[in-house]
């Protein structure tokens, strides 16, 4: 099925965004209510309005604190991380013209993990900022390596994916090497956090930072959405349509590296979201990036919040790595998309 993108499509997008916003609000509310210890939705609602200063209902301080300080921030960071990864996937799939492209597949997540591990284990610098910087450096190193291996823009899209596979192998090996040779048991456990992905431990400052980064990156991407459409038939064709290909690629690769690095430094390397969400979004709103990017962001947000809820429900005492859940939830979903999007013959 292909979409007509005439004016009717814009109304469709607005409707879609409104609906998905409602779903997102419900998902976040559910994520805040559900946990080792369930809190009624009414209490959740009142806790939030209390904190914002709208009400002053009598809520047990412990419940209010759990809702506000632990669960709400966690749910919102999950939503932003999902949105950010989905945007990265949509951008990379367009630039590389490959439906498999996403930060995880291209080794960018692996690079960011290595950078973060360097900071934790080798103790380069200290504090949250240097951790993010480490992840950012790692993400860029991975991008540079992929660009180098795939010989810049001249090689085919599949070549880049192969280079990405090589890069993620290399960076995962580096991470393991650093951890096994210079880490102690505690550090090894800390590092597992980055390798598997978890939303435990995120707080409001993480949310604020991530919100800023996601909004800025989304704005840049929307600004370049028209140019991304022009990549449909390849780089050279985009150039023939007046797109400054080298500049757009550079900016957008930097944006994806920044987003991925920020997300990895907070919640670890989570795969599959960047891969599956843009496909779902394309199915729902069509291939034009002006619509695809906001739609991907919304679906990614909902998807990740639901994945987080699931990760807490399937095993009560343990935390199931979020990457495991995104794959478990995502694969059947992906199968449906593949099935329905098959070419009509």
């Amino acid at each position: 099925m292909a979409y007509d993108t005439s004016e009717g499509g814009a109304a469709r997008l607005v409707l879609f965004l409104c609906l998905s916003l409602i779903v997102l609000i419900f998902a976040v509310a559910a994520a805040t209510a559900i946990g080792d210890y369930n809190i009624p939705l009414r209490t959740v609602f009142l806790s939030v309005t209390n904190e914002v200063g709208l009400t002053s209902a009598g809520i047990a301080p412990i419940e209010q604190s759990v809702v506000w300080n632990l669960r709400l921030s966690r749910a919102l960071v999950a939503a932003l991380a999902g949105a950010g990864l989905a945007i990265c996937g949509a951008i990379l799939q367009a630039l590389l013209r490959n439906t498999l492209a996403e930060p995880f597949v291209l080794g960018v997540s692996a690079g960011a993990s290595t950078g973060a591990v360097c900071v934790i284990v080798l103790g380069i610098g200290a504090g949250g900022l240097s951790l993010s910087l480490g992840a950012f450096g790692g993400a860029f190193a991975a991008f540079a390596l992929v660009a180098l291996l795939s010989n810049g823009a001249t090689s085919g899209p599949n070549h880049t994916i192969l280079a990405g596979v090589a890069a993620s192998q290399l960076f995962n090996a580096l991470t393991s090497y650093i951890v096994t040779t210079s880490g102690n048991a505690q550090q090894a456990r800390d590092v597992m956090f980055w390798l598997l992905g978890s939303f435990g431990g995120v707080r409001w400052p993480d949310f604020q930072l991530l919100l800023g980064v996601v909004i800025a990156c989304l704005a840049i991407c929307i600004w370049m959405a028209r140019s991304l459409d022009a990549f449909t038939f390849g780089d050279e064709d985009a150039a023939a349509l007046g797109v400054p290909v080298a500049r757009i690629r550079l900016v957008l690769f930097a944006v994806t590296a920044l987003l991925t690095a920020t997300i990895v430094s907070m919640v670890g390397a989570i795969g599959f979201v960047g891969l599956v969400v843009p496909h779902a979004a394309r199915y729902l709103v069509g291939p034009l990036h002006m619509r695809l990017l906001p739609a991907s962001a919304m679906i990614g947000a909902v998807f990740m919040v639901i994945a987080d809820i699931t990760s807490r429900l399937i095993a009560t005492q343990q935390t199931v790595p979020i990457g495991v859940v995104t794959a478990l939830v995502g694969v059947p979903f992906f199968a449906i998309i593949l099935y329905r999007a098959r070419p009509q013959t």
């Binding site: 439906t99 929307i222 600004w223 370049m224 023939a240 349509l241 999007a341």
Partner: protein, 254 residues
């Protein structure tokens, strides 16, 4: 707009692919580019359209060195129809032709009536107006080719470079498209393999051989038995056609 190439040289590693090509296309002229496979037609067209940078020499469009013109401004005047294109994205015919408006739109501008008119007109010119909503993937080879020509038309260019635009087209559309290119008020350079079509629709013909200009002139001047034998390695007779102002080539099996 005129197109002037001065001593273009381009190659890869040790191999020179376009060697010292100079040519001048007058405003409104349709120039045919012929030559055997691998003679450098596509490469030359890419250089002319500014999609590749020459190692030396320069291209001037309307008297301006295109290396100095920003990509977007250049694409408002110059359209390029590639020899073959492909995509995995599920786009409609209308989406593809709309891409032709890219150089005319700012980052966030809405879709204007002018844009819509250009797209509708372009689709009409190539007989694809009734297929607006069809998925591009499901088009036949010739239909895809026509959609890409429509996209170039939607760019409302003054200069058009077409790399084998008659590929996959049935004879009616081969003639239609070339007639349209000739009659449109634009300067065009067209790479072609069908020498009779080139003779029929081009004001002048440039023969490329191993990256160099072998001959350049009107169809009568260029399409001689000697050139055909030496460049294309075929035996042919050039026959004048009563009532036609262009030569006709009859190939012999020998």
């Amino acid at each position: 707009m005129s197109v002037v190439a001065k001593n273009l040289i381009w190659g890869v590693k040790r191999r020179t692919i376009v060697s010292d090509v100079s040519l001048m296309v007058a405003p409104g002229e349709t120039v045919g580019l012929i030559g055997p496979n691998g003679s450098g037609k596509s490469s030359l067209l890419r250089l002319l359209a500014g999609l590749k940078r020459p190692m030396s020499g320069q291209v001037e469009i309307n008297g301006q060195d295109i290396a100095q013109v920003p990509r977007k401004a250049l694409s408002r005047q110059v359209a390029f129809v590639q020899q073959s294109v492909a995509t995995d994205t599920n786009v409609t015919v209308a989406d593809v032709v709309r891409l032709g408006r890219t150089p005319h739109r700012s980052a966030l501008a809405g879709w204007s009536e002018g844009d819509e008119a250009a797209v509708a007109h372009a689709l009409d010119r190539v007989d694809m107006a009734s297929r607006r909503k069809q998925a591009w993937q499901t088009l036949s080879g010739g239909e895809r080719q026509r959609v890409h020509i429509a996209r170039a038309l939607a760019q409302t260019p003054q200069v058009m470079f077409l790399d084998e635009p008659t590929n996959h087209l049935d004879i009616h559309h081969q003639i239609e498209i070339l007639r349209m290119v000739r009659d449109l008020d634009l300067t065009s350079v067209v790479a072609l393999h069908d020498l009779n079509l080139a003779a029929m629709f081009c004001n002048r013909i440039v023969v490329l051989e191993a990256g160099a200009v072998r001959a350049c002139g009107t169809p009568e001047e260029v399409l001689t038995q000697k050139t055909l034998r030496e460049v294309f390695r075929v035996t042919a007779q050039i026959v004048g056609m009563p009532g036609a102002d262009h030569p006709h080539i009859r190939f012999s099996p020998e």
